[in-house]
Amino acid sequence: MVRPQDRKFVTADPEKCIGCVVCEYACSMVNENTFNPNKSRIRAMRMGPLTNLAVTCRHCEDPACVAACPKDALSQEENSGIIRVDENACNGCGWCIAACQFGAMNMHPEKKVVFTCNSCTDNPDKEPQCVKWCPEEALTFVTAEQLAQKSRQKAVQNLFQTAETPK
């Protein structure tokens, strides 16, 4: 039994991400066997040359998308936190898309039902391929606690101006 705080999700480091969309192509390649960012579960935003970030599902606690769905088409997997879409129940109304703060719910251009990050559990690769392909090593597959620890380490390092690497 995985505790909720152990759930892992894909996150991008704003200092490293350059908006190159390699992650989008990797995602559509492994999950859809084609090249098409419109079928990617992660989307990179380039707001300007200095403002870039890739965004995907964060497997939230108490996910707004699941709550918003009038068709009960969405459910959250207990262990992984992955949002599962019942493609027969989903009618593509888009309430979940509106509800997600991260824009992580997407409408599939052909199936006309929503789709979102499955942490690559549905494809033969089994581990997040966007993380593997990102040329900037901007993506990590982490728990919320690991993210918090990284931030705390950085804050303390800055405070002490130390070059000592964390143990």
Binding site: E32, N38, P49, P135
Partner: protein, 623 residues
Amino acid sequence: MYAYAGKILRVDLTTGKISTEPLTEELAKQYIGGIGLGIKLLMDNSKPGTDAYDPDNPLIYMTGPLSGTMGPTGGNSYAVVSKSPATGGIGNGESHGFFGPDFKRAGYDAIIITGKAPKLSYLWIDDDKVQIMDAEHLKHFTVYQTDKTIRQELGDFYIRVSAIGEAGEKLCRFAAIINDEFRAIGRSGMGGVMGSKNLKAVAVRGTKDVNVADMPKFREFVKLIYERMKGPATKKYKTLGTPENVLVLNSLSALATRNWTNATFEGANKVSGEYLNEHYVKKIVGCATCGMRCDHIAVVPEGPYKGSISRLEFECLWSMGPLCGVDRLDAIIEAMRIVNEYGMDGISIGVVVAFAMDCYEHGVITKEQTDGIELNFGNAEALIAIIHKIGKREGWLGNALAEGVAKAAEIIGGDAYKYACHIKGLELPGYDLRTLKTAALGFSVSFRGACHLRNGAYSPDVKGKVNRFKIEAGRGKMITDESKMYNIIDSLIVCKFSRGTYYDGWKDLANYYTLATGIPMTVEEMALAGDRIENLARLFNIREGKGTRKNDTLPWKIKNVPVPDEGPAKGVCVNEEEFQVGLADYYASRGWSPEGIPTVEKLKEVGLGDLAYIAEKAEQGGN
């Protein structure tokens, strides 16, 4: 056919007629895509002698076979081909970023745009739905404003736009077409052709799949290239970037300064790649599907141009810096920013300003004619002021300079021609050809005029592989061999910065092509395609009266003003005799006649026998 869309779109802006036709596998294999296929479509869709600004001159947007795949750099590209308003011969440019893949996903390998819209318009390609939209409200908008406004009014952040600025609308002969803020189809005036058609922009949204022939093997190959892109072949682009060249060329007496007056710049340390990166570069970003990243985004932290932001590469830094005698990076960054806003070629604009400064210093143009601007070398404020005038075609001088140095010299008259540094009408890029003589020969025979990217002839000189102060037999073959490779690079449209990552050269590129398209391609076939493209481009130029020996020339200063700077290069310039020896050597290595015309046997060898009549006519003294 995989990877290709298999479809060509035709748009007639005069009548509003829009149609499509299939792209055959045979044509695809023979000309690859990008500039190769673009030049073929230009040849087949234009009448001899059509002016570049005539509505009948087709403006051809191209993708490459790899566009839309995750192939690094090949995946993110497009190209434009047309008759150049600067040279009257082949005009072409390639650009990366984010526009190309959407264009392919919309389902097209090429768009052939002819005619002239009755009023300012833009083309809106939404997969199969193609519309000509009103753009009157975008008149004189900067490239960036145009991009932003179109995406807002069409309501989709992910729409990609390739647009011209005011300079293109006003038919500047070195106007650029720009996508993604600062990625340009820069050289040879393609933006002017677009402006002459009353076409402000092409906006695309492509949602279709791009499939490759062998996904597992393609994936493996692409992964390998992404790994190689981590280094060492790409180190330069990821660290100092191309501005590294400033000090390298300066140390070789090859940094053209003050319009080829000097070959070294006393202010080089203040405009070096090292200085730029330490004081101005905020972040290095890159294009879609690229594993290198090379865009050095420079921000001015203080002073009169505080907050100015631009991408900066060597060529433009040089043209608006050392070439104009300007040693202030803040002003160069601001200049680059406004050049992108007006939509002009960052190389040509600097050469044009340096030409005007040279004329001014020699009293060929007066302060009255500059509208009071003190156009001396080194005057950074004057540089910015005159760029605005050229972008707007304001005043007598601004108007003349927007024609490019060759035509401006005719308008100005007198000794102005001596200061006009161009080949075939295209301004010289950033190398002092007096001290890099393989480059001198290579640039003079390039089919788009003065160009370092048609055969990379500067490379053996800079790398010390040859005696760069001499032209001698053997250089012709070097240029010929490299030109074939460059033609393929620009037809696959992979980024030139990535060329070091194809460790097995031709073998890698042929393999890449086949894995994506499923079309068998041997190394020999691919090299032959590279030669075919060069010969076809030459035939086009010959057909237009711009492609024989008499057109392969060097600027007056390169031949007549010896390098005055102390050092090993002192006293060097290109003499006519060695240059003619070089031309003969080059033509022979190409299988061309002494007049620089492809022989019938050569044309048959490369599969262009049906166009031999152009060569035969030229040999008989016609065009």
